[in-house]
Amino acid sequence: MVDAPKLIEARGISKQFGGVEVLSDIDLDLHAGEIHALIGENGAGKSTFVKILAGVHTPTRGSIKMNGDAVNVTSPIAAQELGIALIHQEPVSFPDLSVAENIVMGRKGGGLLSRVPWATIIADARRYMDMLGVSIDVTRPMHGLSIANQQMVEIARALASDSRLIIMDEPTAPLTPREVDTLFAIARQLRDEGRTIIFISHRLEEVRMLCDRLTIFRDGSHIATQTVASIPEDEIIRLMIGRELKKYMRKHTASIGETALEVSGLTLPGAFEDISFTLRKGEIMGLGGLVGAGRTDVARALFGIEPAKSGKIKVGGRDAKIQRPPDAIDLGLAFVPEDRAGHGIFGTLPVEHNITAAIPGKIAPSGVISRALERGFSRKSVDDLSIRLASLNQPIVELSGGNQQKAILARWLLTEPEVLILDEPTRGIDIGVKAEFYDMIGDLAEAGRAILLISSELPELLSLCDRILVMAEGRITAEIPRDEANQEKVMQAAVPRSGIAA
């Protein structure tokens, strides 16, 4: 591997945004025919770096050589012509065009008025989707596809562009384990054909399974590049966060009290069926399963966003009718949604307005907002959750993902909820802040709150939860107490029955 030909030599790459240096003097060599992991906390500069390679951003300083020749990647089109493809973290597609058109998007050929070779396009698209093991009609429009399938289309687009360097920015986040396996098989095949892949992921086990070498970024600087086999996991974590992480997660030891939430026979046709469980004060109950198993739908129904058609909900021992979110809030429920940007934050509004959004009665006892009360509540939240910000008046989009998530959590803690539903609360959050979240969740349970934690990360469920419910295809398939829980049991219950029929 050492004397493998170099595909990319990046030297002294630096990037400033509005006077703030987000990348400083990055030197990085990429070999032909390797899968190279790029890891680091959120905000370390990984995405910025690959966007420079892909022509989305231009570097403030630095040079890039490709196969020994200096190149200027001034635009995504220039990158495409050089054979560099970027698979975005969040799929970017043309929702009204067909899957096939999205796959061949950007392909050259013919003049402005020449005929579109539909048959070839559709056949090609179908071939790439078959390769990825995805069975969707390539002539259907993009919109309505699941995030996982949209991601697969992105990947197919990169394949179709026949690139020498394929950059995958957190491609596996929305995928099921089976889809991840397929993706990895294809990545290996591409590597064996001599292509180079940059793989960005927060999941270290994936990096270990797939990658040949890894590079660690921290605070916009290049920290280390090593072969994956030669570096132990705790060393990677230490290099990523720059300090020893003592307790990565902890099991909390709250005393479990009386019943806070009781659900029986909850059904919403097409989403989930016959969901029954009891959640007690001080308890952290995990809800595991694959993406699309109906976990989020259950949470949304409990919170009144899309109520269930039948079934009973009891809160604090009393029958509850939850038809709209305000009903749920009045009953002491709180819900931190999975889609932070879409369902959580008011992006352009001040952090302060975001934090106090769910407690209008408390900041405005008379209907007129008291600046002092509002300041008091938000100041205390910022201190309690150590939200890092420049000013409470700052638009919340200017904060990092982890701090945005803290602000949303703060919003709900201010309602003093009895039952807290957290849907993938640590998704896309770097390890340091994740640990803070785990501590907070534990503290909340110790304070007697009942917590329903939806998570796709098994280690999170296993180490935090007193009990794990597993859902598959809209039904609860297992209830596993903490001392019996392990990865195999959860996964076995999570895989749809048709998948394990033997």
Binding site: A44, K46, S47, P325, T348, A357, R388, P395
Partner: protein, 327 residues
């Protein structure tokens, strides 16, 4: 998305002068000053407060409606029917009093007509979840058509006792201007200091997030459409009082001028941003610019061109400012 601009959380807070300077209202105020100076150079008679006030009464009704429209736009909707609503409400009012209904009752009938029009817009835009821009283009034509059915091509006279709201002076200021200023103060306080106002911004910024935060977006939006309906009707009858008679083509095309006021004042057409102060200033700006051009004897065609350029400049400036503050 989260790690494209890593050091955001470390970015320093903006200094106060910067925050004030990049507000879109500052731009509107600046234009007003330029307009005042320019117009007074063109004509020494221009800088006469009572002249400007009298000019303002001509658009005071529309300016009042534009204040409520600003709130509708901030909430993420739009209503293009208020000018037609003004005409239809005024026609209904004039028609029923012409048919012998007592004046106070006729006023109430006119207001109820406006409320019903607001309810129709609300029902289709909010309850049926149709895009409000299409709905209100439809109702704009529909209301105008109904007004023409009621009034035909003739003018309906209103009783002598009802005529002349613009001649009523309160401490030397015409009553329509006083009403406009009071409306601006009240609505400005509602939007700027109350929970409802806060929630209007939140709905307009991200309706899904508002739903998840327990904010009843539908109720607030329905309320805004109803308010706009009633206020439009009141404005229509104010116009009837000023003109002394009502025709179906009352304030024809006025919806564009109302939207222009909101946009010039820095309201963001996609919702979530804007202020009553901005629209308030923009209403004055428009009057100053158009009367300034009139006293300078500019041709109407040129005046229209200047207004068009103003709108384009305002939109570019607003978007530029928002893009800069958002990075």
């Amino acid at each position: 998305m989260t790690d494209t601009t890593p050091t955001r959380e470390m970015a320093p807070a903006r200094p106060t002068w910067h925050v004030v300077l990049v507000r879109p209202e500052t731009m509107t105020l600046l234009l007003i000053i330029i307009g005042l100076v320019g117009a007074s150079i063109l004509s020494p008679f221009f800088l006469d407060a009572s002249y400007i006030m009298r000019s303002f009464t001509l658009t005071a009704e529309m300016s009042i409606v534009a204040l409520v429209l600003t709130m509708v736009i901030i909430s993420g909707e739009i209503d293009l029917s208020p000018a037609a609503n003004m005409a239809l409400s005024a026609c209904v009012f004039a028609w029923v009093q012409d048919a012998g209904v007592a004046l106070p009752l006729a006023v109430i009938v006119g207001l109820l007509a406006g409320l019903a029009m607001g309810a129709l817009n609300a029902f289709m835009s909010i309850r049926m979840q149709l895009p409000s821009i299409i709905v209100t283009i439809g109702t704009l034509i529909f209301f105008r058509g109904l007004a023409q059915i009621i009034a035909g091509d003739r003018s309906i006279r209103v009783p002598e006792s009802f005529v002349g709201i613009n001649a009523v002076m309160v401490f030397g200021v015409p009553l329509p201007v006083v009403i406009f200023v009071l409306c601006a103060i009240v609505l400005g306080l509602v939007l700027g200091t109350t929970v409802i106002g806060r929630q209007i911004y939140q709905i307009g910024t991200n309706q899904q997030a508002a739903l998840h935060a327990g904010i009843n977006a539908k109720r607030i939006k329905v309320g805004l459409f109803l308010l706009l309906g009633v206020v439009s009707a009141a404005a229509g009858m104010m116009a009837a009082s000023r003109l002394g008679s009502v025709r179906y083509d009352l304030v024809l095309g006025g919806e564009l001028q109302m939207v222009l006021m909101a946009m010039l004042g820095g309201t963001y057409i996609f919702g979530g941003r804007g202020t009553i102060l901005g629209t308030f200033l923009a209403a004055w700006l428009l009057v100053i610019v158009s009367t300034g051009m009139t006293v300078a004897n500019l041709l109407p065609a040129i005046q229209l061109t200047v207004l068009g350029i103003l709108l384009i400049v305002a939109i570019i400036a607003t978007n530029f400012i928002y893009a800069r503050t958002q990075r």
